[in-house]
């Protein structure tokens, strides 16, 4: 069994130590610092990117809040303007309606007065005509001359009864 050849032990021990010492030196001085550097720079870059992303997200959050508050203010303002316009409109409508109503009432009152006048005039004329016809009737039937006042009084009596 070659593993038990004691004469071969010394070269193997010596070369194991030599080879491993060389490897350790190469790793510790050359390879590992380089790999560590690569990994660390990547980690740094990742951290930076993450930091940047977080900052941008915060900024976006702030901007969104700002936008929302602006929108809310605008909404409130719109509401005020709208309600003002509504009120103005209502007020104006009421005013115009009132004015129209007054005009109409005036016109109605005027018309009524005129109707009353016309009616009164008509009544007067009827009364005069009645007086005239009464006088001529009386004269024809009994030959008696009746004065205008008497005839009028007689008509009034008849009219009011």
């Amino acid at each position: 069994m070659p593993q038990m050849e004691f004469a071969d032990y010394f070269p193997q021990i010596a070369w194991s130590i030599f080879a491993f010492a060389t490897l350790y030196f190469l790793m510790a001085r050359l390879a590992l610092p380089r790999i560590t550097d690569i990994l660390e720079s990547r980690q740094r870059r990742l951290d930076q990117d993450l930091e940047l992303a977080e900052k941008l997200r915060d900024e976006a959050t702030v901007a969104l809040a700002e936008y929302e508050s602006l929108m809310a203010a605008a909404h409130a303002k719109t509401e005020i303007i709208l309600s003002e316009a509504r009120e103005t409109l209502q007020r104006e409508t009421v005013q115009r309606l009132d004015a129209l109503k007054g005009q109409l009432e005036n016109k109605v009152a005027e018309s009524e007065r005129r109707i009353r006048n016309i009616m009164a005039q008509a009544v007067d004329e009827v009364v005069v005509a009645a007086g005239v016809s009464a006088r001529s009737g009386v004269k024809k039937f009994i030959g008696l001359e009746v004065s205008e006042e008497q005839a009028r009084a007689a008509v009034d009596v008849v009219r009011k009864s």
Binding site: P2, P11, W15, A19, L23, M27, A31, L32, D37
Partner: protein, 244 residues
């Protein structure tokens, strides 16, 4: 079966260059060659993979980062923030064992980690290092490690020897686990490869088996390197934090 066709022949150490320093045999062997290739491959793999600072890594860079993160996570999870100084060691250990295991799977190559002496060099170094670390950080209190907290004192004569033996057996279990896994796997592959040749046309059956076995061995090559690294983390953690 002739000696050169033994399934164990693949583990033979061959001296490529005879070397002798101060009476100690330090010949450059096929094992040494594989170690050098492993070290060179690891360095190449990492340096090429990490040559560009790509924000979004390509395939190669992803593999490099994956290896790094795997070990980093093991160290972090098992030792915590105090494990930072040992990261380079655990990483080198993991990569070295992984590459030795995987390169050993290439036919006609040599599996460094199939030799118990190599794995024992690492396990022993870790054992000594961890023990020294424990004493440096805790002084004589480190002996308290052998008496788990909350244990009645009259159980101490029983538990302390058990804990002590279990502590001493760490480097053995650590090294044997890896070497035995590698050796068994490669021996099995070689044995079944022999069947393929011996059975002729019927050799298709062991060939299919070899393909499946090879997949399993690849998994084991990775897993054993990982287990070795994680256990190293656990031992370091024990030395730093004593009990939990």
């Amino acid at each position: 079966m002739a000696a050169e066709h033994s399934p164990l022949e693949q583990f033979a150490i061959k001296r490529l260059v005879e070397l002798d320093i101060g009476g100690v045999d330090v010949s450059f062997t096929n094992s040494s060659l594989m170690m050098v290739i492993a070290v060179a491959s690891i360095t190449l793999f990492l340096m090429v993979g990490a040559r560009r600072h790509a924000m979004v890594p390509g395939r190669w860079q992803s593999m490099v980062e994956l290896a790094y993160e795997l070990v980093a996570k093991s160290v972090r999870d098992n030792i915590g923030i105090e494990g930072r100084p040992y990261f380079a060691f655990v990483f080198s250990l993991f990569m070295f064992l992984l590459f030795c295991n995987v390169l050993g799977l290439i036919p006609y190559s040599f599996t460094v980690t199939s030799h118990i002496i190599v794995t024992f060099v690492f396990a022993g170094a870790i054992f000594i290092g961890v023990t020294v670390l424990g004493f440096v950080r805790h002084g004589l209190k480190f002996f308290g490690f052998f008496l788990p907290p909350g244990v009645p004192i009259y159980l101490a004569p029983l538990l302390v020897p058990i804990e002590f033996i279990s502590y001493l057996s760490r480097p053995i279990s650590l090294s044997v686990r890896l070497a035995a896994n590698m050796m068994a796997g490669h021996t099995m592959l070689k044995v079944f490869a022999g069947f393929v040749v011996a059975l002729g046309l019927m050799g298709v059956a062991p060939l299919i088996f070899i393909v499946l076995l090879f997949a399993l061995e690849t998994l084991i090559a990775f897993l054993q390197a990982y287990v070795f690294a994680v256990l190293t983390c656990l031992y370091i953690n024990d030395a730093i934090h004593l009990h939990h």
